[in-house]
Protein backbone atom coordinates (compact mmCIF):
# COMPACT_ATOMS: atom_id res chain seq x y z
CA UNK A 1 0.00 0.00 0.00
CA UNK A 2 1.24 3.50 -0.89
CA UNK A 3 0.35 6.65 0.99
CA UNK A 4 -0.58 10.13 -0.22
CA UNK A 5 -1.85 13.25 1.56
CA UNK A 6 -4.74 13.93 -0.82
CA UNK A 7 -6.18 11.53 -3.39
CA UNK A 8 -8.55 13.02 -5.96
CA UNK A 9 -10.86 10.62 -7.77
CA UNK A 10 -11.56 11.98 -11.25
CA UNK A 11 -9.47 14.23 -13.52
CA UNK A 12 -12.21 16.34 -15.08
CA UNK A 13 -12.74 20.04 -14.38
CA UNK A 14 -13.61 19.41 -10.72
CA UNK A 15 -10.65 17.10 -10.03
CA UNK A 16 -8.14 19.36 -11.75
CA UNK A 17 -9.27 22.57 -10.01
CA UNK A 18 -9.40 20.79 -6.64
CA UNK A 19 -5.86 19.45 -7.13
CA UNK A 20 -4.48 22.88 -8.01
CA UNK A 21 -6.23 24.51 -5.03
CA UNK A 22 -5.01 21.83 -2.59
CA UNK A 23 -1.46 22.08 -3.94
CA UNK A 24 -1.45 25.86 -3.70
CA UNK A 25 -2.76 25.62 -0.13
CA UNK A 26 0.43 23.76 0.73
CA UNK A 27 -0.34 20.06 0.23
CA UNK A 28 2.23 19.06 -2.39
CA UNK A 29 1.57 15.33 -2.07
CA UNK A 30 -1.70 15.48 -4.00
CA UNK A 31 -2.51 12.91 -6.70
CA UNK A 32 -5.28 12.57 -9.30
CA UNK A 33 -6.67 9.22 -10.44
CA UNK A 34 -8.61 9.07 -13.73
CA UNK A 35 -9.94 6.16 -15.79
CA UNK A 36 -9.32 7.87 -19.16
CA UNK A 37 -5.90 8.27 -20.78
CA UNK A 38 -5.97 12.10 -20.61
CA UNK A 39 -7.10 14.72 -18.12
CA UNK A 40 -10.17 16.78 -18.97
CA UNK A 41 -13.17 14.53 -18.39
CA UNK A 42 -16.35 15.38 -20.23
CA UNK A 43 -14.92 18.72 -21.45
CA UNK A 44 -12.89 16.85 -24.07
CA UNK A 45 -16.06 16.07 -26.01
CA UNK A 46 -17.75 19.46 -25.38
CA UNK A 47 -16.18 21.13 -28.41
CA UNK A 48 -18.66 24.05 -28.44
CA UNK A 49 -17.75 27.45 -27.01
CA UNK A 50 -19.18 29.35 -24.06
CA UNK A 51 -16.92 28.04 -21.28
CA UNK A 52 -14.88 30.26 -18.98
CA UNK A 53 -16.68 33.60 -19.26
CA UNK A 54 -17.17 33.87 -15.49
CA UNK A 55 -14.06 32.12 -14.26
CA UNK A 56 -11.42 33.08 -16.81
CA UNK A 57 -12.96 36.20 -18.36
CA UNK A 58 -12.79 34.82 -21.91
CA UNK A 59 -14.87 32.51 -24.01
CA UNK A 60 -13.31 29.12 -24.61
CA UNK A 61 -14.36 25.74 -25.99
CA UNK A 62 -14.50 22.74 -23.61
CA UNK A 63 -11.13 21.26 -24.65
CA UNK A 64 -9.48 24.69 -24.27
CA UNK A 65 -10.97 25.19 -20.79
CA UNK A 66 -9.71 21.73 -19.80
CA UNK A 67 -6.27 22.53 -21.20
CA UNK A 68 -5.99 25.66 -19.00
CA UNK A 69 -6.37 23.52 -15.88
CA UNK A 70 -4.37 20.55 -17.23
CA UNK A 71 -1.46 22.97 -17.73
CA UNK A 72 -1.78 24.21 -14.12
CA UNK A 73 -1.71 20.59 -12.91
CA UNK A 74 1.35 19.85 -15.05
CA UNK A 75 3.21 23.03 -14.01
CA UNK A 76 2.88 22.05 -10.35
CA UNK A 77 4.12 18.54 -11.02
CA UNK A 78 0.97 17.04 -9.53
CA UNK A 79 1.09 13.28 -10.07
CA UNK A 80 -1.67 11.97 -12.35
CA UNK A 81 -2.50 8.26 -12.62
CA UNK A 82 -4.36 7.87 -15.95
CA UNK A 83 -6.13 4.69 -17.12
CA UNK A 84 -6.71 4.05 -13.44
CA UNK A 85 -10.23 3.14 -12.39
CA UNK A 86 -11.08 3.40 -8.71
CA UNK A 87 -13.11 0.34 -7.73
CA UNK A 88 -13.53 0.88 -4.00
CA UNK A 89 -13.32 3.56 -1.34
CA UNK A 90 -13.54 2.80 2.37
CA UNK A 91 -14.55 5.11 5.22
CA UNK A 92 -10.95 4.98 6.52
CA UNK A 93 -9.85 6.47 3.19
CA UNK A 94 -8.22 3.46 1.54
CA UNK A 95 -8.63 3.82 -2.22
CA UNK A 96 -8.51 0.67 -4.36
CA UNK A 97 -7.94 1.13 -8.08
CA UNK A 98 -7.37 -0.99 -11.15
CA UNK A 99 -4.48 0.27 -13.30
CA UNK A 100 -2.02 -0.85 -15.97
CA UNK A 101 0.33 -1.87 -13.16
CA UNK A 102 -2.38 -4.01 -11.52
CA UNK A 103 -4.39 -3.30 -8.40
CA UNK A 104 -3.30 -0.16 -6.50
CA UNK A 105 -4.09 0.43 -2.86
CA UNK A 106 -3.57 3.96 -1.59
CA UNK A 107 -4.00 5.17 1.97
CA UNK A 108 -5.03 8.83 1.87
CA UNK A 109 -5.20 11.46 4.59
CA UNK A 110 -8.00 13.15 2.62
CA UNK A 111 -10.00 12.14 -0.46
CA UNK A 112 -11.80 14.44 -2.89
CA UNK A 113 -14.64 12.85 -4.84
CA UNK A 114 -14.79 14.33 -8.37
CA UNK A 115 -16.25 11.48 -10.42
CA UNK A 116 -18.82 13.56 -12.30
CA UNK A 117 -22.09 12.15 -13.52
CA UNK A 118 -23.53 9.86 -16.15
CA UNK A 119 -26.55 10.04 -18.37
CA UNK A 120 -29.97 8.63 -17.62
CA UNK A 121 -30.63 5.87 -20.16
CA UNK A 122 -33.62 4.61 -22.14
CA UNK A 123 -34.13 1.84 -19.60
CA UNK A 124 -34.95 4.42 -16.95
CA UNK A 125 -37.72 5.93 -19.11
CA UNK A 126 -39.78 2.85 -19.98
CA UNK A 127 -40.54 3.99 -23.55
CA UNK A 128 -42.75 1.43 -25.34
CA UNK A 129 -41.68 -0.29 -28.54
CA UNK A 130 -38.87 -2.26 -30.09
CA UNK A 131 -35.14 -2.10 -29.39
CA UNK A 132 -33.52 -1.14 -32.70
CA UNK A 133 -30.10 0.41 -33.29
CA UNK A 134 -30.04 4.20 -33.53
CA UNK A 135 -30.94 5.15 -29.97
CA UNK A 136 -28.14 6.98 -28.17
CA UNK A 137 -27.78 9.04 -25.07
CA UNK A 138 -26.86 12.55 -26.26
CA UNK A 139 -23.44 12.41 -24.60
CA UNK A 140 -22.59 9.09 -26.27
CA UNK A 141 -23.47 10.55 -29.66
CA UNK A 142 -21.38 13.61 -28.77
CA UNK A 143 -18.34 11.45 -28.00
CA UNK A 144 -18.76 9.34 -31.16
CA UNK A 145 -19.01 12.42 -33.39
CA UNK A 146 -16.59 14.81 -31.69
CA UNK A 147 -13.83 12.51 -30.46
CA UNK A 148 -13.96 9.44 -32.68
CA UNK A 149 -15.36 10.87 -35.90
CA UNK A 150 -18.30 8.53 -36.47
CA UNK A 151 -21.52 9.69 -38.11
CA UNK A 152 -24.42 8.84 -35.83
CA UNK A 153 -27.52 9.37 -38.01
CA UNK A 154 -29.18 11.50 -40.66
CA UNK A 155 -32.73 12.10 -39.47
CA UNK A 156 -32.92 12.82 -35.79
CA UNK A 157 -35.43 13.29 -32.97
CA UNK A 158 -34.12 14.48 -29.61
CA UNK A 159 -35.93 13.79 -26.36
CA UNK A 160 -35.03 16.27 -23.64
CA UNK A 161 -34.18 19.96 -23.95
CA UNK A 162 -31.42 20.22 -21.39
CA UNK A 163 -28.24 21.86 -22.61
CA UNK A 164 -26.70 18.63 -23.94
CA UNK A 165 -29.81 17.95 -26.05
CA UNK A 166 -29.77 21.49 -27.44
CA UNK A 167 -26.04 21.44 -28.15
CA UNK A 168 -26.39 18.11 -29.95
CA UNK A 169 -29.30 19.42 -32.04
CA UNK A 170 -26.95 22.07 -33.42
CA UNK A 171 -24.03 19.66 -33.74
CA UNK A 172 -26.06 17.11 -35.72
CA UNK A 173 -27.40 19.92 -37.96
CA UNK A 174 -23.87 21.18 -38.66
CA UNK A 175 -22.86 17.64 -39.62
CA UNK A 176 -25.63 17.58 -42.22
CA UNK A 177 -28.34 15.70 -40.32
CA UNK A 178 -31.96 16.87 -40.27
CA UNK A 179 -33.16 17.36 -36.71
CA UNK A 180 -36.92 16.89 -36.92
CA UNK A 181 -37.82 17.87 -33.38
CA UNK A 182 -36.69 18.39 -29.83
CA UNK A 183 -39.34 17.10 -27.42
CA UNK A 184 -39.49 18.22 -23.78
CA UNK A 185 -41.82 16.52 -21.32
CA UNK A 186 -41.88 19.55 -19.02
CA UNK A 187 -43.78 22.74 -19.93
CA UNK A 188 -40.43 24.61 -20.02
CA UNK A 189 -36.92 23.89 -21.29
CA UNK A 190 -34.24 22.84 -18.85
CA UNK A 191 -31.55 24.44 -20.99
CA UNK A 192 -30.06 27.93 -21.04
CA UNK A 193 -32.10 30.43 -23.09
CA UNK A 194 -29.03 31.30 -25.16
CA UNK A 195 -28.82 27.66 -26.25
CA UNK A 196 -32.47 27.66 -27.40
CA UNK A 197 -31.60 30.68 -29.56
CA UNK A 198 -28.25 29.61 -30.99
CA UNK A 199 -28.87 25.84 -31.20
CA UNK A 200 -32.55 25.58 -32.19
CA UNK A 201 -33.79 28.89 -33.60
CA UNK A 202 -30.64 29.44 -35.69
CA UNK A 203 -31.28 26.10 -37.41
CA UNK A 204 -35.08 26.23 -37.56
CA UNK A 205 -35.48 23.22 -35.25
CA UNK A 206 -38.89 23.03 -33.53
CA UNK A 207 -39.07 22.63 -29.73
CA UNK A 208 -42.23 20.86 -28.56
CA UNK A 209 -42.91 21.46 -24.86
CA UNK A 210 -45.09 19.14 -22.73
CA UNK A 211 -44.32 16.47 -25.34
CA UNK A 212 -42.62 13.10 -25.07
CA UNK A 213 -41.65 10.09 -27.16
CA UNK A 214 -44.41 7.55 -26.57
CA UNK A 215 -43.31 4.72 -28.87
CA UNK A 216 -40.22 3.54 -30.70
CA UNK A 217 -40.56 1.79 -34.08
CA UNK A 218 -38.20 -0.29 -36.22
CA UNK A 219 -36.52 -3.67 -36.13
CA UNK A 220 -32.84 -3.59 -37.03
CA UNK A 221 -32.53 0.19 -37.23
CA UNK A 222 -34.84 2.85 -35.80
CA UNK A 223 -37.52 3.76 -38.38
CA UNK A 224 -39.50 6.36 -36.48
CA UNK A 225 -40.95 7.47 -33.19
CA UNK A 226 -44.45 8.32 -32.04
CA UNK A 227 -44.51 11.57 -30.10
CA UNK A 228 -47.42 12.74 -27.97
CA UNK A 229 -48.34 15.69 -25.82
CA UNK A 230 -48.55 14.94 -22.12
CA UNK A 231 -51.16 15.91 -19.57
CA UNK A 232 -50.57 17.37 -16.12
CA UNK A 233 -49.72 13.81 -14.97
CA UNK A 234 -46.96 13.77 -17.66
CA UNK A 235 -48.56 10.76 -19.37
CA UNK A 236 -49.04 10.76 -23.17
CA UNK A 237 -52.47 11.92 -24.42
CA UNK A 238 -53.72 9.31 -26.92
CA UNK A 239 -55.39 11.77 -29.36
CA UNK A 240 -52.23 13.86 -29.76
CA UNK A 241 -50.02 10.98 -30.91
CA UNK A 242 -48.20 11.50 -34.20
CA UNK A 243 -45.51 9.61 -36.08
CA UNK A 244 -42.15 11.12 -37.06
CA UNK A 245 -39.90 9.05 -39.36
CA UNK A 246 -36.28 9.13 -38.13
CA UNK A 247 -33.21 6.91 -37.97
CA UNK A 248 -31.79 8.31 -34.74
CA UNK A 249 -33.20 9.15 -31.32
CA UNK A 250 -30.98 11.05 -28.90
CA UNK A 251 -31.88 11.00 -25.21
CA UNK A 252 -30.94 13.99 -23.11
CA UNK A 253 -33.08 13.19 -20.13
CA UNK A 254 -31.02 14.00 -17.11
CA UNK A 255 -27.69 13.39 -15.45
CA UNK A 256 -27.11 11.20 -12.43
CA UNK A 257 -24.13 11.87 -10.14
CA UNK A 258 -21.90 8.80 -10.17
CA UNK A 259 -21.87 8.02 -6.46
CA UNK A 260 -21.12 4.29 -6.19
CA UNK A 261 -17.81 5.00 -4.42
CA UNK A 262 -19.47 7.55 -2.16
CA UNK A 263 -21.95 4.90 -1.08
CA UNK A 264 -19.26 2.26 -0.61
CA UNK A 265 -17.62 4.60 1.92
CA UNK A 266 -20.94 4.83 3.75
CA UNK A 267 -21.43 8.54 3.00
CA UNK A 268 -25.04 9.78 3.27
CA UNK A 269 -26.57 11.00 -0.02
CA UNK A 270 -29.06 13.85 -0.40
CA UNK A 271 -32.15 12.37 -2.15
CA UNK A 272 -32.77 15.61 -4.09
CA UNK A 273 -29.27 16.39 -5.40
CA UNK A 274 -28.29 12.68 -5.62
CA UNK A 275 -24.91 13.82 -4.31
CA UNK A 276 -23.29 13.64 -0.87
CA UNK A 277 -24.54 15.74 2.02
CA UNK A 278 -21.75 18.30 2.60
CA UNK A 279 -20.80 21.28 4.74
CA UNK A 280 -19.50 24.63 3.48
CA UNK A 281 -16.03 23.14 2.90
CA UNK A 282 -17.71 20.45 0.73
CA UNK A 283 -16.76 17.89 3.38
CA UNK A 284 -19.07 14.86 3.53
CA UNK A 285 -20.31 13.20 6.71
CA UNK A 286 -17.07 11.14 6.75
CA UNK A 287 -14.32 13.47 8.03
CA UNK A 288 -11.59 13.96 5.41
CA UNK A 289 -13.72 12.93 2.43
CA UNK A 290 -14.80 15.88 0.27
CA UNK A 291 -16.91 16.13 -2.89
CA UNK A 292 -17.21 18.67 -5.72
CA UNK A 293 -18.43 19.10 -9.26
CA UNK A 294 -21.17 17.06 -10.91
CA UNK A 295 -20.79 14.16 -8.49
CA UNK A 296 -22.02 16.54 -5.78
CA UNK A 297 -24.71 18.40 -7.73
CA UNK A 298 -25.31 18.63 -11.47
CA UNK A 299 -24.07 22.05 -12.60
CA UNK A 300 -25.10 24.08 -15.63
CA UNK A 301 -21.77 25.92 -15.97
CA UNK A 302 -18.27 24.50 -15.67
CA UNK A 303 -17.10 27.82 -14.22
CA UNK A 304 -19.08 27.05 -11.07
CA UNK A 305 -17.65 23.52 -10.99
CA UNK A 306 -14.16 25.02 -10.83
CA UNK A 307 -15.24 27.37 -8.00
CA UNK A 308 -16.77 24.52 -6.03
CA UNK A 309 -13.70 22.34 -6.58
CA UNK A 310 -11.45 25.09 -5.23
CA UNK A 311 -13.53 25.16 -2.04
CA UNK A 312 -13.15 21.37 -1.70
CA UNK A 313 -9.42 21.57 -2.47
CA UNK A 314 -8.90 24.20 0.22
CA UNK A 315 -11.01 22.22 2.67
CA UNK A 316 -9.04 19.03 2.09
CA UNK A 317 -5.76 20.93 2.55
CA UNK A 318 -6.99 22.43 5.85
CA UNK A 319 -8.06 18.96 6.96
CA UNK A 320 -4.62 17.47 6.23
CA UNK A 321 -2.90 20.38 8.01
CA UNK A 322 -5.26 19.96 10.97
CA UNK A 323 -6.33 23.61 10.78
CA UNK A 324 -9.99 23.07 10.00
CA UNK A 325 -12.31 24.96 12.33
CA UNK A 326 -14.54 22.84 14.50
CA UNK A 327 -17.35 25.38 14.67
CA UNK A 328 -20.86 24.15 15.30
CA UNK A 329 -22.97 23.53 12.20
CA UNK A 330 -26.55 24.35 11.29
CA UNK A 331 -28.62 22.48 8.71
CA UNK A 332 -29.83 24.29 5.61
CA UNK A 333 -33.28 23.71 4.19
CA UNK A 334 -35.15 24.43 0.93
CA UNK A 335 -38.25 26.50 1.66
CA UNK A 336 -41.04 27.63 -0.65
CA UNK A 337 -40.17 27.56 -4.35
CA UNK A 338 -36.67 26.16 -3.75
CA UNK A 339 -35.81 22.60 -4.82
CA UNK A 340 -32.57 22.21 -2.90
CA UNK A 341 -29.88 24.16 -1.06
CA UNK A 342 -26.19 23.24 -1.06
CA UNK A 343 -24.26 22.93 1.21
CA UNK A 344 -26.68 21.05 3.40
CA UNK A 345 -24.74 22.13 6.54
CA UNK A 346 -23.01 25.42 7.34
CA UNK A 347 -20.57 26.21 10.13
CA UNK A 348 -21.31 29.20 12.32
CA UNK A 349 -17.87 30.64 11.72
CA UNK A 350 -17.63 34.38 12.23
CA UNK A 351 -14.42 34.52 10.16
CA UNK A 352 -15.89 34.22 6.67
CA UNK A 353 -18.96 34.78 4.52
CA UNK A 354 -20.78 31.69 3.30
CA UNK A 355 -22.38 31.21 -0.12
CA UNK A 356 -25.45 29.05 -0.58
CA UNK A 357 -26.18 27.49 -3.98
CA UNK A 358 -29.71 26.54 -4.93
CA UNK A 359 -32.14 25.74 -7.69
CA UNK A 360 -35.77 26.83 -7.87
CA UNK A 361 -38.61 24.31 -8.35
CA UNK A 362 -40.39 26.07 -11.24
CA UNK A 363 -39.72 28.95 -13.65
CA UNK A 364 -40.43 32.29 -12.00
CA UNK A 365 -40.33 35.92 -13.05
CA UNK A 366 -38.99 38.50 -10.61
CA UNK A 367 -38.43 36.95 -7.19
CA UNK A 368 -36.94 37.79 -3.82
CA UNK A 369 -34.97 35.07 -2.03
CA UNK A 370 -34.92 35.25 1.76
CA UNK A 371 -32.43 33.34 3.88
CA UNK A 372 -33.71 33.03 7.43
CA UNK A 373 -32.90 31.27 10.68
CA UNK A 374 -35.81 31.24 13.08
CA UNK A 375 -37.13 34.82 13.03
CA UNK A 376 -33.77 36.23 11.95
CA UNK A 377 -33.33 37.27 8.28
CA UNK A 378 -29.71 36.50 7.29
CA UNK A 379 -29.77 37.67 3.67
CA UNK A 380 -32.07 38.59 0.82
CA UNK A 381 -31.51 38.69 -2.93
CA UNK A 382 -33.70 39.88 -5.80
CA UNK A 383 -33.52 38.28 -9.24
CA UNK A 384 -35.31 39.44 -12.41
CA UNK A 385 -36.01 35.82 -13.25
CA UNK A 386 -35.28 32.42 -11.75
CA UNK A 387 -35.49 29.16 -13.68
CA UNK A 388 -34.72 25.56 -12.63
CA UNK A 389 -31.98 25.27 -15.28
CA UNK A 390 -29.87 28.04 -13.75
CA UNK A 391 -28.22 27.68 -10.36
CA UNK A 392 -28.55 30.65 -7.99
CA UNK A 393 -25.92 31.80 -5.50
CA UNK A 394 -26.71 33.79 -2.35
CA UNK A 395 -24.10 35.20 -0.01
CA UNK A 396 -24.62 35.22 3.77
CA UNK A 397 -22.43 37.78 5.56
CA UNK A 398 -20.28 36.25 8.33
CA UNK A 399 -21.70 38.41 11.14
CA UNK A 400 -25.28 37.51 10.21
CA UNK A 401 -24.56 33.78 10.19
CA UNK A 402 -22.71 34.07 13.50
CA UNK A 403 -25.96 35.20 15.11
CA UNK A 404 -27.98 32.28 13.70
CA UNK A 405 -29.07 29.48 16.01
CA UNK A 406 -31.68 27.59 14.02
CA UNK A 407 -32.01 25.79 10.66
CA UNK A 408 -31.07 28.11 7.76
CA UNK A 409 -34.00 28.18 5.32
CA UNK A 410 -34.04 29.69 1.83
CA UNK A 411 -37.43 30.51 0.36
CA UNK A 412 -38.66 32.77 -2.42
CA UNK A 413 -41.58 35.11 -2.97
CA UNK A 414 -42.78 36.31 -6.35
CA UNK A 415 -42.61 40.07 -6.84
Amino acid sequence: MTEHDIVIIGGGPAGMAAAVAAFDAGIKDTVILDREDTLGGILRQCIHNGFGLHKLGRELTGPEYAAVYAKQVEERGIKVYTETMVTDLSADKIVTASSREGILKIKAKAVILAMGCRERSRGALNICGTRPAGIFSAGTAQKLINCEGYGVGKRVVILGSGDIGLIMARRMSLEGAKVEAVCEIMPYSGGLTRNIVQCLEDFGIPLYLSTTVAEIHGNRRLEGVTIAEVGADRRPIEETKRYIPCDTLLLSVGLIPENELTRSAGIPIDPVTNGAVVDENRQTAVPGIFACGNVLQVHDLVDYVSDEAEIAGHGAAEFVKGTMSGAKTLDTKAGFGVRYVLPQKVSVDPAKDTSLFLRVSNPYGKVRFTVSSGDEVLATAVRLKAVPGEMEKINIPADKLAAATDTVTVSLEEL
Partner: protein, 115 residues
Protein backbone atom coordinates in the same frame (compact mmCIF):
# COMPACT_ATOMS: atom_id res chain seq x y z
CA UNK B 1 -39.35 48.16 -36.37
CA UNK B 2 -38.83 46.49 -33.01
CA UNK B 3 -37.03 43.18 -32.55
CA UNK B 4 -37.01 41.07 -29.37
CA UNK B 5 -33.77 39.16 -28.93
CA UNK B 6 -32.13 36.93 -26.36
CA UNK B 7 -28.46 37.77 -25.91
CA UNK B 8 -26.24 34.72 -26.50
CA UNK B 9 -22.96 36.27 -25.42
CA UNK B 10 -23.02 34.81 -21.90
CA UNK B 11 -25.17 32.30 -19.99
CA UNK B 12 -27.22 35.05 -18.38
CA UNK B 13 -29.29 35.35 -21.58
CA UNK B 14 -30.61 38.92 -21.23
CA UNK B 15 -33.89 39.69 -23.02
CA UNK B 16 -33.05 42.55 -25.38
CA UNK B 17 -35.27 44.91 -27.33
CA UNK B 18 -33.82 46.52 -30.45
CA UNK B 19 -35.61 49.46 -32.05
CA UNK B 20 -34.50 49.87 -35.64
CA UNK B 21 -34.91 53.25 -37.34
CA UNK B 22 -33.10 53.15 -40.67
CA UNK B 23 -29.39 52.83 -39.85
CA UNK B 24 -29.87 53.52 -36.18
CA UNK B 25 -30.43 50.66 -33.70
CA UNK B 26 -31.45 51.51 -30.13
CA UNK B 27 -30.99 48.67 -27.64
CA UNK B 28 -32.55 48.19 -24.21
CA UNK B 29 -32.62 45.36 -21.67
CA UNK B 30 -28.91 44.53 -21.80
CA UNK B 31 -27.02 43.71 -18.60
CA UNK B 32 -23.70 44.88 -20.07
CA UNK B 33 -22.14 46.65 -23.04
CA UNK B 34 -21.60 43.38 -24.90
CA UNK B 35 -25.37 42.92 -25.12
CA UNK B 36 -25.73 46.20 -26.99
CA UNK B 37 -23.10 45.15 -29.53
CA UNK B 38 -24.74 41.74 -29.91
CA UNK B 39 -28.17 43.28 -30.61
CA UNK B 40 -26.78 45.72 -33.17
CA UNK B 41 -24.80 42.95 -34.93
CA UNK B 42 -27.86 40.69 -34.84
CA UNK B 43 -29.99 43.34 -36.56
CA UNK B 44 -27.38 44.45 -39.09
CA UNK B 45 -25.27 41.36 -39.87
CA UNK B 46 -25.58 38.43 -37.45
CA UNK B 47 -22.40 36.43 -36.80
CA UNK B 48 -21.61 33.13 -35.05
CA UNK B 49 -18.46 31.30 -33.96
CA UNK B 50 -18.49 27.86 -35.59
CA UNK B 51 -17.01 24.89 -33.71
CA UNK B 52 -16.48 21.47 -35.25
CA UNK B 53 -13.91 18.69 -35.63
CA UNK B 54 -11.32 17.76 -38.26
CA UNK B 55 -10.02 14.25 -38.90
CA UNK B 56 -6.44 13.50 -37.85
CA UNK B 57 -5.22 11.33 -40.74
CA UNK B 58 -2.27 9.71 -38.96
CA UNK B 59 -4.17 8.64 -35.82
CA UNK B 60 -6.85 5.95 -35.63
CA UNK B 61 -10.41 7.19 -34.87
CA UNK B 62 -9.13 10.61 -33.80
CA UNK B 63 -10.61 14.03 -34.41
CA UNK B 64 -9.15 17.37 -33.42
CA UNK B 65 -11.68 19.95 -32.28
CA UNK B 66 -11.56 23.37 -33.91
CA UNK B 67 -13.26 26.76 -34.05
CA UNK B 68 -13.35 29.84 -36.21
CA UNK B 69 -10.93 32.28 -34.62
CA UNK B 70 -13.52 35.06 -34.98
CA UNK B 71 -17.27 34.85 -35.58
CA UNK B 72 -18.33 34.50 -39.23
CA UNK B 73 -21.55 35.65 -40.93
CA UNK B 74 -24.45 33.44 -39.84
CA UNK B 75 -25.43 32.86 -43.48
CA UNK B 76 -22.01 31.30 -44.16
CA UNK B 77 -22.10 28.64 -41.41
CA UNK B 78 -22.85 25.72 -43.74
CA UNK B 79 -20.30 26.82 -46.35
CA UNK B 80 -17.70 27.01 -43.56
CA UNK B 81 -18.70 23.50 -42.47
CA UNK B 82 -18.13 22.24 -46.05
CA UNK B 83 -14.57 23.59 -45.93
CA UNK B 84 -13.96 22.13 -42.45
CA UNK B 85 -15.36 18.72 -43.43
CA UNK B 86 -13.07 18.44 -46.47
CA UNK B 87 -9.96 19.22 -44.40
CA UNK B 88 -7.69 16.64 -42.79
CA UNK B 89 -4.64 17.32 -40.64
CA UNK B 90 -1.63 15.39 -39.36
CA UNK B 91 -0.70 15.06 -35.70
CA UNK B 92 0.96 16.51 -33.72
CA UNK B 93 -1.45 19.45 -33.40
CA UNK B 94 -1.21 22.15 -30.73
CA UNK B 95 -4.02 24.39 -29.46
CA UNK B 96 -4.15 27.48 -31.67
CA UNK B 97 -2.59 25.84 -34.76
CA UNK B 98 -4.18 27.15 -37.96
CA UNK B 99 -6.03 24.25 -39.64
CA UNK B 100 -7.79 26.15 -42.47
CA UNK B 101 -6.70 29.53 -43.77
CA UNK B 102 -9.05 32.24 -44.94
CA UNK B 103 -12.54 31.03 -44.01
CA UNK B 104 -14.86 34.01 -44.54
CA UNK B 105 -12.32 36.50 -43.28
CA UNK B 106 -10.94 34.43 -40.41
CA UNK B 107 -9.10 31.16 -39.77
CA UNK B 108 -10.09 27.81 -38.32
CA UNK B 109 -7.81 26.95 -35.40
CA UNK B 110 -7.33 23.83 -33.27
CA UNK B 111 -8.87 23.80 -29.78
CA UNK B 112 -7.33 20.53 -28.60
CA UNK B 113 -3.82 19.15 -28.47
CA UNK B 114 -3.24 15.89 -30.33
CA UNK B 115 0.18 14.46 -29.45
Amino acid sequence: MTKNLICIICPRGCALTAEINGDEVKVSGQGCIRGEKYAIDECVSPVRTVTSVIRVSNREDTMVSCKTEAPIPKAKIFEAMDIIRKTTVKAPVAIGDVLCDNVFGTKVIATKEIK
